[in-house]
């Protein structure tokens, strides 16, 4: 694993990696070592598309030296918790996505559900997960005009990612379906249904309850 370690201020390191698999592998290794008492002062471990941020380190330079000596085993494809998301593929942008994929609106849902997805990272709003899984041929452009309000539970695609809106919010991604899964619940532990490393399978259904 080639790590490019970049300082991020006085207490953090941003580790740049080759791809998502390496991000998840390093993230798992950090979690293992933290469980064994490594870097107890560490506050946040934040995956990105190709990076892992370690924030809250007492001595980032010393940790950078340690990281360079780590052997990081790859994460098996079946390692992450599997979450099934019931999805009714009836989104208003199915036709646009079908055109970009060179298929029919009816086929979009089947194709999307047939692909295995993995939570790469979270952001945008609490519980909003960026799901990797669309291959290069299925990456989609964003809407030219973002919607001012996207309903909670909307399943959307943007670039190489799928996302599900945990709460109503503005959004520029293409809406392909809806789910009644509760993505975010502060009374649940963990509050986020989808966490980095989770595997996600979309299950097509003909209807869902309004969340």
């Amino acid at each position: 694993m080639m790590m490019q370690i970049r300082p991020a201020g006085p207490t953090a390191l941003l580790v740049e990696l080759a791809d998502l698999d390496e991000v998840l592998a390093l993230s798992a290794e950090v979690a293992r070592r933290r469980a064994g008492g490594w870097a107890p002062e560490l506050v946040d471990v934040v995956p990105g598309g190709r990076t892992l941020l370690l924030d809250g380190l007492a001595d980032p330079a010393a940790v950078a030296d340690q990281l360079a000596g780590w052997t990081v085993p790859p994460v098996p494809a079946t390692a992450g918790e599997l979450v099934e998301i019931a999805c009714c593929y009836d989104g208003p942008d199915l036709a646009d996505v079908a055109e970009q994929w060179g298929t029919t609106p009816e086929e979009v849902g089947q194709r999307h559900a047939s692909m295995p997805h993995t939570v790469a990272f979270c952001g945008f709003s609490p519980g909003f997960a960026y799901l990797a899984g669309l291959d290069a041929a299925h990456a989609v452009s964003r809407r030219r005009t973002p919607r001012t309000m996207v309903p909670a539970g909307s399943v959307a695609v943007g670039g190489p990612y799928t996302g599900i809106y945990p709460r109503p919010s503005p959004g520029g991604w293409q809406l392909i379906g809806r789910t009644d899964a509760v993505l975010w619940d502060t009374d649940r532990d963990p509050a986020a249904l989808l966490r980095p490393g989770c595997r996600v399978r979309f299950v097509p259904v003909s209807s869902v309850e309004q969340p």
């Binding site: 970049r6 300082p7 991020a8 201020g9 006085p10 207490t11 953090a12 941003l14 506050v43 946040d44 471990v45 934040v46 995956p47 990105g48 598309g49 190709r50 990076t51 892992l52 941020l53 924030d55 809250g56 990272f121 979270c122 952001g123 945008f124 709003s125 609490p126 519980g127 909003f128 997960a129 960026y130 502060t186 963990p190 509050a191 986020a192 966490r195 980095p196």
Partner: protein, 289 residues
């Protein structure tokens, strides 16, 4: 914290007054901002003056203060932005412990220097917590809503020893100019040599659309040598992003947890307190470590 039946009734909420404590660190991987008091030194000092633990919940005002009636006696202190303080119309001290009697009203006026005043109450402001914090996060809407007229807030019971300090040393908020100390950010190498020189020598002006999410700075474009699209990456508190239009954004407590613009520098934690208190129009320069 446990309640005491003592209450605070909001008479005038001010432009934006929120409850803030130490925030929600450790949840950034779920997309949850850290939140918490923006001027952390002033927050801790207000608590110290009334004998609270430094991270207890306090009120954070924005520019025009707040007016609060107390149903029972309490000890309060106002720190952060310098503002006139009155109790039942009588002038009272700023940045010192003040006894407020039952039925009396504490008035924190418009800030004369700085942006955010902190009002600590002995025992702490008692509101429901979300994910371990009472802080209002304006980006994601977590935590109790900003104060509204007529709201009632609880006052916690004191635990442990009550050791108020009469005098707590403090730096005053910036007045017109602020020099922020910067560390190199993870994408410092995305700046051209000219861009790095501009960052070191330039002057920026605080924009009025600054808020708890970010201090927005208008000034000379900071030239980059790279313009690729960056996959989203984790962002630390104090990250300085270079935007495509040349502006700079300094991320404060309610910042998004990931972002796609290059972070060219990171503000030294003590300088974040100056960011919290820099009014629109303040001229900002940087000193690189």
């Amino acid at each position: 914290m446990t309640g005491t039946g003592r209450r605070i009734i909001v008479r005038r909420p001010g432009a934006l007054t929120t409850v803030q404590d130490g925030g929600r660190p450790g949840l950034a991987h779920l997309g949850v901002p850290r939140s918490g008091a923006l001027d952390r030194a002033a927050h801790a000092r207000a608590n110290r003056l009334v004998g609270n633990a430094p991270s207890m919940p306090v009120l954070e005002t924005t520019l025009d203060g707040v007016s609060l009636r107390f149903t029972a006696g309490a000890v309060v202190a106002v720190t952060g932005a310098v503002a006139p303080v009155h109790i039942d119309g009588r002038p009272a001290g700023w940045s010192e412990p003040l006894p407020v009697g039952a039925g009396q009203t504490l008035e924190v006026g418009r800030a004369v220097r700085g942006v955010r005043s902190y009002v600590a109450v002995g025992g702490g402001v008692l509101v429901p917590s979300v994910l371990g914090s009472s802080s209002r996060d304006v980006l994601s809407g977590l935590g109790p809503a900003p104060l509204a007229a007529g709201d009632e807030l609880g006052i916690g019971a004191h635990h442990g020893r009550f050791v108020p300090v009469d005098l707590a040393p403090y730096p005053l908020p910036p007045d017109g100019t602020a020099e922020l100390v910067l560390w190199p950010g993870p994408r410092h190498d995305w700046l051209s040599d000219a861009g790095a020189a501009t960052l070191a020598a330039g002057r920026w002006t605080v924009s009025p659309d600054s808020n708890r999410v970010a201090l927005r700075l208008v000034g000379p474009p900071v030239q980059r040598s790279r313009h690729d699209e960056l996959p989203s990456e984790g962002i630390v508190l104090g990250s300085v992003q270079s935007l495509p239009d040349g502006g700079l954004v300094v991320f404060l407590a309610d910042h998004p947890t990931t972002g796609g613009y290059p972070v060219v520098a990171v503000v030294d934690p003590p300088s974040l307190d100056a960011c919290a208190q820099a009014r629109p129009g303040t001229v900002v320069s940087f000193r690189l470590r």
